[in-house]
């Protein structure tokens, strides 16, 4: 058993959400996840799931495609449109190609058929959790950049926008009608505030910022 994986999973307490209308399947999958060391939460329908806040927790979704009421694909579509990037593993007894294509294009981690091999499912779950973890880390970083950006003065943001475009200090000073020294001063301040040491880091941070924020800064 690869310990690092387990420790990683335990450390982050990833949660595997299982949605299947068949109770025996639901229980069996949960048992398998438990035996692999994941925490599970079970739902008999997507509607029941959406009524809770489990989706905000880190982890992944194991979804049965065919269910009474709203299907797995419907839930996927719902999550995508609402901006929730929860990784989804589809599980079906009788999948076909168009269904698979639709699910994968919509960003599913995997599309598996029942009965499924344990390792295949666990790999998929691990991959999904890894994806989720990475996405969450990225989101946290962007969040910190945004927070730092909030501390900048409008002039500093202006200069930051110009700098990330590759403009020279003297060009910026000319454009803004200020002295080059002042530009350098601002530049130093903003780099400190943004907690970057190199221009490259600054540019990456800039690029990581949401477009909306970049535009307001440029303006």
């Amino acid at each position: 058993m690869p310990l690092p994986a387990e420790s990683q999973a335990e450390a982050r307490h990833p949660l595997v959400i299982i949605v299947d209308d068949d109770a025996s399947v639901r229980e069996a999958l949960s048992e398998l996840m438990l035996s692999a060391g994941f925490e599970t939460v079970l739902f008999s329908s997507t509607k029941a799931l959406l009524e809770t806040s489990e989706l905000d927790k880190p982890g992944c979704l194991i979804l049965d495609v065919r269910m009474p009421g709203s299907s797995g694909l419907d839930l996927q579509r719902h999550l995508t449109t609402s901006g929730n990037p929860k990784p989804i593993i589809f599980l079906t007894a009788h999948g076909d190609i168009p269904m698979t294509v639709q699910a994968m294009k919509a960003g599913a981690v995997d599309f598996l058929t029942k009965p499924v091999r344990d390792q295949t499912l666990l790999d998929a779950v691990n991959a999904a959790i890894g994806l989720d973890t990475a996405r969450r880390a990225e989101a946290a970083k962007i969040k910190s950049y945004v927070e730092r950006l909030q501390t900048l003065t409008p002039r500093e943001r202006e200069i930051m926008s110009e700098v990330t475009r590759g403009r020279l200090n003297k060009q910026i000073a000319f454009d803004l009608g200020i002295s080059e020294v002042t530009v350098k001063l601002h530049r130093g301040n903003l780099m400190r505030k943004m907690e970057v040491t190199t221009i490259g880091e600054l540019i990456r941070a800039w690029e990581a910022l949401p477009v909306r924020m970049r535009e307001t800064s440029a303006a």
């Binding site: 025996s24 007894a93 009965p115």
Partner: protein, 976 residues
């Protein structure tokens, strides 16, 4: 000869005159004129004769005067003419020889004058005739005239000449007044008659003296003594009665007259009067009372003559009766006159009584004086009953109380003023009934103008009054009828002038009846002129004029203004009334107010028009048919659609219905339409059918026709009303829809099989997936270090559970295909066949395929799963229909018959047939491009589960037959 000339007729005289004139003229001599003058003399009488003489004298005098005044030839001429005139005068003298002729007129007058006192009757004539002695004539004439003029009867004596020439004394009694003339017997005084004088007068000297005095005054007298013995009797009287004194005093019995005996004079008294005369005389003789008596006395002639006898006693100084003297007056004429008068009065009374009228009279004060017999008979009244106690008239019992006051007032007024009166009233009759009576009364006045009497006559006018009343009532009724009849009745003169309007008409026009200035005709004409609507006036007057001229009945509708100014439509009619010779007397007309009716008709017409418009413009094909189905109406749209009208398809020998149907209904639909329509016509049930209808351009269009019967109050069908909707588009859409549905169903069928398998897979897969997952989990729990046996144990339990679950799913799937016997019940196969046929009819008709069913009668019911067998049949029918898709001859035959203890059902098509009859029943075998190949397999399973067999055969020359058999005694426990 002259006498002969006198007798010549005037014509001859005229001829003479003419010849004379002609001679006078031809001879040129005036002497010719003598002949006519002579002729004139022959004939002239009286005035004319005098004129002739006068003319001649004047002419003579003229000529003489002319001869004296003028000299020469004129004198000669005048002399000549004078001579002529003189000659003419001589001729005249010769021709008129009889002087009496000249005085004939005077003589006639004289004769008439002599006859004038007609009242003298024949006496004067007799006097003139010479029957009376010439010496007596003046006296008689005078007496007759006196009697006539004064009215006082005259008695006179004269000598009448007997036929032998001798004269005989006769007494004439000339009576005036009533024309009563009594020929009394003559008292003949004859010289030889015997009369005597008493020898001694005795104590009766005074009486005789008195008698003689009377005799000198009166002519007749007598005296007798106290004992009744005559001592003196006027000789004339003795002669008249032919009794001498001796005869008179002769004692005829042994007793003296005074003692009750009989004296001779009594023989001269009429036997009826003698006793009374004798007894009264005896009484007077004894008492000395004056004797006054009338009795009939026998005359010498043998006749009894009435006499009034009076006698008075003479008394001596001591008052003793010394004698009696008396006289007798001949009152025979009075008695007879009185009798005649009485008879006459009686006659009159009878006349009055028999006249059919009630005649009465009253005194000048109005007291009832006389009632004729009739009035008493009829009214039961007598003079007493209608007389009030004070003698005045009391009408209470004679007159109806209603008229009493009027009658009394009228009567009193007339009595007071003397004016005649006339009154009509109800008179009470003897039997208590009242009858109409008319009474007229006039006063009789004397010469001073004073009312002497009222004479009245009452006439029964009851019948007249009743008739009049009835007539009046009838007239009133007629008038009321004419006035109340709810029409305007009018009358025109032949010239067209209105002279009568009835009350309603007058009220309608609002005529002012009180206007009496102008005549009725003018008022009516003016009102009529004003009332006629200006738009109708010209037309109306022209028509009326035409009718008046030709005598044709008048009939017209026009508007007439009512008094309130509203014009109302009138239907006026008039016809002439003609007399016997055919000429028009007047026009009688009637105008009826038809305004409401017209408005009603107008509204009705309007409503009908709008309804018709509605029917015509409705986007539907509407028609009506007679109860036998014959078309009687088609709406505009339907006529347009068909391109022909009602009668255009009429042909000989065929009904319009048959002709029309064949012309417009699609041949494939015709039998059904005819059958269904015929059924509806026969039963009266509504008809509804979808069929193709031939449009005018020859294209058949789908229509839905619905027809229902319109019934009258008795429930009889009076008409069929039908409507056809064009449902071509709808049918097309329906067909497309059906096709789509069919494809969809087929797809669904296919899908459901896939679904079924998917579902089966899902059902089986779920537990399997659970089993697999649990197995992995179990393995992991066991491979843990240390192994988590508790969890492993739990997962194994789950594995067992899920595996069992999977097995149960498989069992359920198997059960799905297993037939359940519980669904079976006893059914009639023919009913199921019809149901299946009906289910497929729509599709068959869409595919233009007819399904014919031939089922043997009396098939036994079978224990079947109705739905499954129906599905088998539907499957076989659909297969058959689909198999015939590419072929021309299209008919599907279904036969069902019993062979032994099996019911054999065949579904035979004329399609393409089957290549391998046995393979078609294998699952997933299909000859059809879109078939799943499961239908026949399942069908065979179903039939076999019912204990039957299903197989297929190929027909010759084409098509296939699917046959299945079912055992009659299908056991319900076959599958258990």
């Amino acid at each position: 000869m002259i006498a002969a000339l006198h007798r010549t007729p005037p014509a001859l005289m005229l001829v003479t005159l003419a010849i004379g004139l002609a001679a006078c003229w031809s001879a040129g001599s005036p002497f010719g004129i003598l002949a006519p003058i002579g002729a004139l003399f022959l004939y002239a009488r009286g005035y004319w004769l005098l004129s002739l003489w006068g003319g001649l004298l004047i002419a003579l005098a003229g000529t003489v005067l002319a001869a004296m005044l003028y000299p020469g030839t004129i004198r000669d001429e005048a002399l000549s003419l004078g001579a002529l005139v003189a000659v003419a005068g001589c001729i005249g003298l010769l021709l008129v020889p009889d002087p009496l002729r000249r005085g004939s007129r005077l003589a006639a007058l004289h004769r008439r004058a002599a006859r004038q006192p007609d009242g003298l009757g024949g006496y004067a004539d007799r006097a003139l005739d010479g029957a009376v002695h010439p010496d007596d004539r003046p006296a008689i004439a005078q007496a007759a005239a006196y009697a006539f003029w004064t009215g006082v009867p005259q008695v006179t004596s004269y000598r009448q000449r007997e036929p032998d020439g001798s004269y005989r004394w006769t007494e004439l009694r000339a009576e005036p007044g009533y024309g009563v003339s009594v020929d009394v017997d003559a008292m003949v005084s004859r010289p030889c008659d015997r009369w005597t004088v008493a020898e001694s007068l005795g104590a009766t000297v005074a009486a005789v003296k008195a008698a003689k005095v009377i005799e000198s005054l009166h002519g007749k007298a007598w005296a007798f003594d106290a004992m009744g013995k005559f001592t003196y009797v006027t000789p004339a009287a003795q002669v008249a009665i032919d009794m001498a004194l001796e005869d008179l005093n002769r004692r005829l019995g042994d007793r003296e007259f005074i003692d009750g005996g009989e004296a001779g004079w009594m023989r001269g008294v009429h036997p009826d009067d003698v006793d009374k005369a004798a007894s009264t005389l005896r009484h007077c003789l004894k008492t000395g009372e004056p004797w006054n008596i009338e009795y009939r006395m026998l005359r010498a002639t043998g006749h009894y003559v009435w006499h009034r006898i009076s006698a008075r006693p003479t008394r001596d100084d001591e008052g003793r009766i010394t004698g009696w003297f008396g006289t007798s007056i001949d009152i025979d004429v009075y008695k007879k006159t009185e009798a005649a008068l009485r008879a006459r009065e009686q006659h009159l009374e009878q006349l009055i009584d028999t006249v059919p009228a009630m005649i009465w009279s009253m005194t000048e004060k109005g007291h009832p004086a006389y009632l004729n017999k009739r009035i008493m008979e009829v009214t039961g009244a007598t003079r007493e009953t209608i007389m009030a106690p004070d003698g005045s008239l009391s009408l209470k019992k004679m007159i109806h109380p209603n008229f009493l006051d009027l009658a009394e007032q009228t009567f009193a007024k007339s009595v007071a003023t003397g004016a005649p009166y006339n009154i009509k009233y109800l008179q009470r009759r003897a039997d208590g009934a009242y009858r109409w009576t008319e009474t007229r009364a006039e006063a009789l006045r004397d010469e001073t103008g004073k009312i002497v009497r009222w004479y009245g006559v009452s006439v029964d006018i009851h019948d007249l009054i009743v008739t009049q009343t009835e007539l009046h009532l009838r007239k009133q009724e007629l008038t009321r009828l004419v006035d109340l009849v709810p029409s305007h009745i009018w009358r025109l003169t032949p010239a067209g002038e209105p002279n009568f309007f009835n009350r309603r008409f007058i009220d309608f026009l609002g005529l002012d009846e009180s206007d009496l200035e102008t005549s009725r005709t003018e008022r009516y004409a003016a009102a009529l002129n004003a009332a006629i609507h200006p738009d109708d006036a010209v037309r109306l007057w022209a028509e009326l004029k035409h009718c008046l001229l030709t005598g044709l009945p008048f009939s017209m509708r026009y508007r007439l203004r009512r008094h309130d100014g509203v014009y109302r439509w009138m239907d006026g009619r008039a016809e002439p009334l003609r007399d016997e010779d055919g000429s028009i007397i007047q026009w009688h007309g009637l105008s009826h107010d038809i305004d409401d009716q017209l408005r009603g008709e107008e509204a009705l017409r309007e409503s009908e028009r709008s309804l018709r418009q509605l029917v015509e413009t409705l986007p539907a094909l509407i028609y009506c048919a007679a109860p036998n189905g014959e078309p009687i109406y088609r709406s505009e749209k339907l006529r347009e659609f068909l391109g022909f009208g009602l009668g255009d398809k009429d042909e000989d020998g065929r009904t319009r219905l048959a002709g029309t149907l064949e012309a417009i209904i699609h041949p494939d639909d015709l039998p059904d339409v005819k059958e269904k329509y015929g059924l509806s016509l026969a039963t009266g049930s509504p008809y509804a059918m979808k069929h193709r209808l031939r449009r005018a351009d020859g294209v058949f269009r789908w229509v839905e026709t619905r027809t229902a019967a319109m019934r009258n109050g008795e429930g009889e069908i009076v008409q069929w009303n039908g409507i056809s909707f064009e449902i071509e588009d709808q049918v097309r859409a329906q067909e497309a829809l059906t096709l789509t549905q069919e494809r969809l169903a087929r797809a669904a069928q296919a899908a459901s099989l896939a679904e079924l398998s998917a579902s089966i897979a899902h059902e089986v897969n779920q537990p399997l997936a659970a089993v697999v997952a649990n197995s992995h989990a179990c393995q992991r729990w066991l491979t843990l270090d240390p192994p988590n046996l508790e969890r492993a144990q739990k997962t194994v339990e789950r594995i067992i559970r899920d595996a069992n679950s999977a097995a149960a799913v498989v069992g359920r799937v198997r059960a799905l295909f297993r037939q359940t016997v519980e669904a079976r019940s006893l059914c009639r196969l023919d009913a199921i066949l019809h149901e299946a046929r009906d289910l497929m009819l729509e599709e068959a008709s869409r595919r233009r395929i007819r399904i014919e069913i031939d089922i043997e009668a009396g098939l036994p019911p079978l224990a079947l799963d109705r739905i499954q067998i129906q599905q088998v049949l539907v499957n076989l029918i659909r297969n058959g229909l689909e198999a015939m898709e590419p072929t021309q001859h299209r008919a599907l035959h279904i036969r069902c018959a019993r062979t032994g203890d099996l019911l054999r059902t065949e579904v035979r098509d004329t399609g393409v047939g089957i290549d391998v009859p046995d393979k078609v029943f294998e699952p997933f075998f299909s000859t059809k491009s879109n078939g799943m190949g499961m239908g026949l397999a399942i069908s065979r399973t179903i039939i076999e589960s019912h204990g039957g067999r299903l197989w297929a055969e190929n027909n010759q020359p084409s098509g296939a037959t699917f046959v299945f058999t079912l055992p009659v005694e299908t056991k319900a426990d076959h599958d258990r």
